[in-house]
């Protein structure tokens, strides 16, 4: 798969460093302390976080490897990782008995919300869905223009209001329109906000509240977009966005760089929130369905 090789681009360096260590340090059937430490370091450098790295490596320390080789150890680790990630495997399903399926997209500033909406819309349109996008970022300069271009590219419709309009009011109107025009899917963009800003988080909470006035079951999805370059703060993002507007799914972007996004494993272990997709570039096709196994393999530098 293409994204695996993109992911591996960045991972290769670390992984080959590891294999060098492994082949020189290994003695006997069990992994020696130095090797275990190297493995832990590999996970930590991929943003797994200290405690889960320890936990995963501890689970391997009792394991016996008969005909030892580095790949085998990595395979083993990647299995451990994918066991955790598999719990959160659930593709986004937008079926809603003919009513508009409402997706609210939230996240910290600059993580890739607007771009991801463009990519999502494009995927839906390609499946012959009727898509409406709401330009709910009424704050940032040119946020609306940016989304307009994505609506053109993805051949989906867009509803906009001037900058400064209340995002909740716009969302309300968007859902009314989506119902009237029998759209299959409504995607609502929101302004980026840091999760520790209570006033901005309170404003965000208003959106699901007004949507429920029209359709009690909406929003059907609240997607939190995470940036792969983010470190341990991603955990706090999940925690607080979830508290404020009930996150139903995660998308991790920017996995085409050297950042590994290992924090997703920590998140998967702590929160029962599905991971739907990953972003691997700025192009319209650079959104891939999340696959626990290939993600784990890529994290461990396996093809």
């Amino acid at each position: 798969m293409e994204w695996v090789s993109k992911l591996n681009n960045g991972l290769n360096k670390t992984a080959s460093g590891l294999s060098k260590n492994l082949s020189t340090v290994f003695k006997g059937k069990k992994l020696d302390p130095q090797t275990l430490e190297d493995l832990e370091d590999l996970l930590i450098s991929s943003d797994f976080g200290v405690s889960i790295s320890k936990k995963i490596v501890d689970s391997i320390s009792k394991e016996k490897f008969n005909d030892f080789d580095t790949n085998k150890v990595r395979e083993f680790l990647s299995k451990k990782v994918s066991e955790i990630l598999k719990l959160r495997y659930l593709p986004l399903n937008t079926e809603n008995n003919g009513d508009p399926y409402v997706i609210l997209v939230v996240g910290v500033n600059g993580v890739g919300k607007t771009t991801t909406i463009g990519k999502l819309a494009n995927n839906f349109v390609k499946k012959n869905k009727n898509v409406l996008i709401a330009a709910g970022d009424t704050f940032r300069a040119a946020a609306i223009d940016q989304l307009k271009i994505w609506s053109d590219r993805s051949k989906s419709e867009i509803i906009t209001k001037p900058t400064g309009t209340d995002a909740a009011a716009l969302s309300y109107e968007a859902l009314v329109t989506a119902k009237e025009e029998k759209k299959d899917i409504l995607i609502i963009d929101t302004a980026g906000r840091l999760q520790n800003k209570t006033d901005l988080m309170n404003q965000l909470e208003k959106i699901p509240r007004v949507l429920k006035k029209i359709d009690e079951t909406s929003p059907h999805s609240v997607l939190l977009v995470l940036d792969a370059s983010t470190g341990q703060n991603a955990i706090s993002q999940v925690e607080l966005f979830n508290k404020s507007c009930g996150v139903t799914g995660l998308i991790m972007t920017k996995l085409d760089g050297t950042a590994k996004g290992g924090v997703l494993v920590s998140i998967a272990e702590r929160y029962p929130i599905p991971i739907h997709a990953i972003g691997v570039g700025e192009g319209i096709d650079d959104l891939q369905e999340f696959e626990p196994e290939s993600y784990s393999r890529a994290l461990l530098g396996l093809l």
């Binding site: 943003d47 600059g110 223009d145 341990q232 760089g257 950042a259």
Partner: protein, 457 residues
């Protein structure tokens, strides 16, 4: 009264005597905790390893203050070391070149470049009163140029008109031409976000860099960045030789380990902090604040700092004893000058004794500056040990020698000697009062002090 005074000091100082030095085992144990704290704060692993190694060497054998645990002592050392690594003072944006000064801004996608460009432009325009032009070379991201244009309009900053289809390098060249025509002082170039492994875009960037030859090349990075911070910083340093870092989203709740990761691998100072989405949300960098955020152990650090101050007070106590014995000499004056220097020139011998408000006031009014203290110390340093104890031997030729040795005028030497005489006079009187066993009113001591400002040149 001196007995009482000593008791009071004794109370504070009682459990703050030094208590031996840090053992290797103490240091290692404490650093294990520190390592985890740093990693959890997103300091990159190689940087953590280096920090821990350096701190270990530094810490082993250092004296521990009593009432402070070895672990607390180590944390204080960690704190100070990290501040040192980050650079102890804040550095400004460099505009020192013949105009137009060009600032090139680069970084990963979404790191906050465009926002930072406009904040910088606003700051340079309003605070430094310079003519600024901004230009967006981002021809890739939808509405990126539009974004900068709108921000410019909002902040009343001129931006280069957009010409559709023009390539980044050509936009850069056009901005310089336009800047020259308009008599612009500073041109700030916004660039498209790019991954450090995107060979095509990194090559493009280094071409732009080579063409416009910026005086300042800023890497804009997100303070939420994790372990990847080192890879990002290294790559941008290699390709465009960045001269400074702008750290954004400091208004978030991330611990901000990326700051020290990036500083360590590039050696580049962090020049500005983005503290919000608004145009005024740009601040100078303060290493101590970031360190206490990364380390998350501010309480321990201030505890140790307090203990250290008290140790300084302990020295004052020793001095007090000398005064009582009538042994105050120039060595002691020198100690005091050093002490004053250490405490930022605001405190000193007399302020250590409670109730002597007058001296304190004189000192703060006279705004004792460090240079003066340095001069005075140099003067005492160029005396012989004998001269320091027996001031009377100082004749004209000795004074000339001392002045020459310290690189000052003979009057400066006289001034120091005058200070010393005045102080010893005060002390003698204090001693007398002490002997009588009277309870001295601090005002009485104040009255002993000559009215002229003897801390002033």
């Amino acid at each position: 009264m001196f007995q009482g005074l000593q008791d009071k000091f004794g109370e504070i100082l009682g459990n703050l005597k030094k208590r031996g030095s840090l053992k290797e085992s103490d240091v290692k144990e404490a650093l294990r905790q520190v390592r985890i704290a740093l990693l959890e704060a997103d300091v990159a692993l190689p940087v953590v390893k280096k920090l821990i190694k350096d701190i270990e060497t530094k810490a082993i054998g250092q004296e521990i203050l009593r009432s402070i645990s070895p672990a607390q002592m180590v944390i204080k050392i960690v704190n100070d070391h990290m501040i040192e690594v980050l650079g102890t003072k804040s550095e400004d944006i460099n505009l020192k070149t013949s105009p137009p000064a060009i600032i090139l801004v680069a970084g990963l996608q979404g790191s906050g470049k465009t926002t930072t460009v406009i904040k910088l432009a606003h700051k340079i325009k309003s605070k430094m009163n310079k003519k600024v032009l901004v230009a967006s070379l981002d021809v890739y991201r939808p509405a990126a140029q539009q974004q900068l244009k709108i921000l410019g309009e909002q902040a009343d900053i001129s931006s280069l008109p957009i010409i559709d289809g023009q390539l980044p390098l050509d936009i850069a060249k056009r901005s310089i031409k336009a800047g020259a025509l308009q008599g612009t002082d500073v041109i700030i170039l916004d660039t498209a976000g790019r991954m450090n492994v995107d060979e095509a875009l990194m090559t493009e960037l280094s071409q732009i860099h080579a063409t416009v030859k910026p005086i300042e090349t800023l890497l804009v990075a997100d303070s939420l960045t994790g372990q990847d911070a080192v890879n990002i910083a290294k790559a941008f340093k290699e390709r465009i030789n960045i001269t400074g870092i702008a750290l954004t989203r400091i208004d978030g709740d991330a611990r901000g380990g990326a700051a020290i990761s990036m500083k360590s691998v590039t050696g580049c100072p962090i020049k500005v902090l983005g503290t919000g989405e608004k145009i005024d949300d740009l601040e100078n960098f303060h290493p101590d604040r970031i360190v206490s955020r990364i380390l998350g152990m501010g309480d321990v650090v201030s505890l140790v700092e307090k203990a250290k101050e008290t140790i300084d007070e302990e020295d004052a106590q020793k001095l007090e004893k000398k005064i009582l014995k009538g042994q105050f000499d120039l060595n002691d004056l020198r100690d005091q000058l050093r002490q004053m220097k250490k405490m930022g020139g605001m405190s000193g011998l007399m302020t250590m004794l409670p109730g002597i408000s007058k001296v304190k006031k004189q000192m703060s009014q006279s705004n004792i500056d460090e240079k003066m203290l340095l001069h005075q110390e140099a003067i005492i340093n160029s005396m012989t040990p004998k001269e320091r104890i027996h001031v009377k031997v100082l004749n004209a030729s000795r004074k000339r020698r001392i002045a020459a040795g310290a690189g000052v005028e003979i009057q400066d030497v006289n001034r120091v000697l005058k200070q010393y005489k005045q102080m010893s006079l005060v002390m003698k009187k204090m001693k007398k009062m002490g002997k009588k066993g009277k309870n001295i009113n601090p005002e009485a001591i104040n009255n002993l002090i000559p009215n002229q400002n003897f801390f002033k040149h």
